[in-house]
C-alpha cells in the first residue's frame, strides 16, 4: 500500500495499514507489478512449410 503525507508530499510504502491526520492512502493495490511471461513466437502454417523446405534443401 502507498501512503502520502499531505503536508510534506512524501510518499511511503507499507505492508500494513497506516493512519495519521496528515496521511492519505493513494494506492491500495499491491505495489509490486507482476511480471507477465514473454509471449512465445507463434508458428504459422507458412513458416512451418518454409522450415520443412529449408530442411530438405540442406540435405
Amino acid at each position: 500500500m502507498l501512503y502520502k503525507n499531505v503536508k510534506t508530499g512524501i510518499i511511503i510504502e507499507s505492508l500494513t495499514e497506516c493512519r495519521g491526520a496528515d496521511l492519505i492512502q493513494i494506492e491500495s493495490a499491491p505495489i509490486y507489478e507482476e511480471k507477465k511471461p514473454a509471449a512465445e513466437p507463434q508458428v504459422t502454417k507458412t513458416t512451418a512449410k518454409r522450415a520443412k523446405k529449408n530442411e530438405r534443401s540442406s540435405k
Binding site: N5, T8, I10, S14, L15, R19, G20
Partner: protein
C-alpha cells in the same frame, strides 16, 4: 498526630533516579530537565520555511515562525507499604537495609508507573485511563500508527514503516521503544535458516538496534482499560520517534519519604497503624513530561487479532 517527614537521603535519591532510568523506556530514551513544582512553560519554535537565496539587489521575503507554548506540569506518584513498628526500634543499619529495599521497589514501580502514565495515560495502579494524564499521553497525542501484523517475518518491516511515517512528517527518529512481543518477533526472523537479529535471541535486550537507542519494555504493551468496567487491551507494540528532542521529562520536587506511625494512611481495611503495631513507609515523587511534537512519533499498534 506524630508524622516524621523526611526528604530522601541524597545517595538514595541518586540510586533511585539511576534505577528509574534503567527501568523506564521514556526516562532512558528521553531528555531529563528540571521541572518547577508549579510547572514549566516551554515553547516549540518552528521556522516555517527554508532560508531564501537572494540575488544582488533582490527583494527579501518573509520566512515565518510558529511558536506554541507547552506546559509541563508535574503529577504525583506515590507508593506506600505497611511494615512492623520494629522498624522504628531497629538499629540504624537495619533501617538503612529496609530503606534500600524500599528504594529498589519504589524505583521499579516509579519507572513503570511513569511509562504507563506517559505512554498510555492511565493510573498505573488501576490501569484505567486517567483524566489527570490522558491528554498528555502518547496514545492520545500520537495519531500516526502502523498496524502490527503479528508475524515474526514482518516485525522489522513494521518498524521501518513507522520510521518512514515519522520521516515523512519531517521528523527524526532518535529512539525506539518496543514490547517484548516485538523483541521475540525480531529474534524469530531468519534468512536461509540463520537468525537475522541474533542480538534479540534468548530474551536478550540490546540497548540499540541499527545504531538507534532501543528500549525493550513490557510497559509499552501494558494492557489498559478505557473505563474501570471495560476489558483490558493492549494498545501499543512499539513507539518510535524523536525521544531525544521532542520528549522531555523531569522531577518536579524533592523526592519525599515519610514514616507514618498513626492513622490509616492507605485508607485500607487494615485499620489504625498503632492498633496493629505497624508503621507506614511512603515515598512520593512528582514527575512532569511533555511531548513537544506528536508528528515526530509513530506507534505500532496491534491488528484485529491483537
Amino acid at each position: 498526630m506524630s508524622v516524621s517527614v523526611n526528604l530522601y537521603d541524597e545517595h538514595l535519591v541518586a540510586d533511585l533516579i539511576s534505577k528509574v532510568k534503567g527501568k523506564s523506556s521514556l526516562a532512558a530514551l528521553g531528555q531529563q530537565i528540571p521541572v518547577a513544582f508549579v510547572g514549566n512553560k516551554e515553547f516549540t519554535f518552528t521556522m516555517d520555511k527554508d532560508v531564501d537565496l537572494v540575488a544582488e539587489n533582490g527583494a527579501k521575503g518573509h520566512g515565518g515562525i510558529t511558536m506554541a507554548p507547552i506546559t509541563i506540569v508535574p503529577v504525583k506518584f506515590e507508593y506506600g507499604a505497611r511494615v512492623s513498628d520494629e522498624f522504628m526500634i531497629a538499629s540504624d543499619e537495619e533501617k538503612v537495609a529496609v530503606l534500600e529495599a524500599f528504594n529498589d521497589g519504589f524505583a521499579k514501580k516509579l519507572a513503570s508507573g511513569f511509562d504507563m502514565a506517559a505512554i498510555h495515560g492511565v493510573n498505573p495502579r488501576t490501569k484505567v485511563v486517567s483524566d489527570l494524564v490522558k491528554t498528555n499521553s502518547f496514545d492520545v497525542k500520537v495519531d500516526q500508527t502502523v498496524t502490527y501484523l503479528g508475524s515474526g517475518s514482518t516485525a522489522d518491516a513494521n518498524i521501518e514503516t513507522a520510521i518512514a511515517l515519522v520521516e515523512a512528517a519531517d521528523g527524526d527518529v532518535t529512539g525506539l521503544a518496543i514490547s517484548p512481543t516485538v523483541r521475540a518477533a525480531l529474534a524469530a526472523i531468519t534468512a536461509n535458516g540463520v537468525k537475522v537479529y541474533p542480538e534479540f535471541a534468548f530474551g536478550a535486550q540490546p540497548a540499540n538496534l541499527g545504531g538507534q537507542p532501543l528500549s525493550v519494555n513490557k510497559t509499552v504493551s501494558t494492557a489498559v482499560k478505557a473505563t474501570a468496567d471495560a476489558a483490558a487491551a493492549t494498545v501499543d507494540q512499539a513507539i518510535i520517534g524523536d525521544f531525544a528532542n521532542m520528549f522531555k521529562w523531569g522531577y518536579g520536587k524533592d523526592i519525599s519519604f515519610e514514616v507514618i506511625e498513626y492513622g490509616n494512611p492507605d485508607n485500607s481495611d487494615s485499620g489504625d497503624l498503632k492498633g496493629h503495631n505497624q508503621v507506614y513507609l511512603r515515598g512520593e515523587a512528582y514527575l512532569g513530561w511533555a511531548i513537544f511534537d506528536p508528528a515526530s512519533f509513530a506507534r505500532i499498534i496491534p491488528g484485529v487479532s491483537g
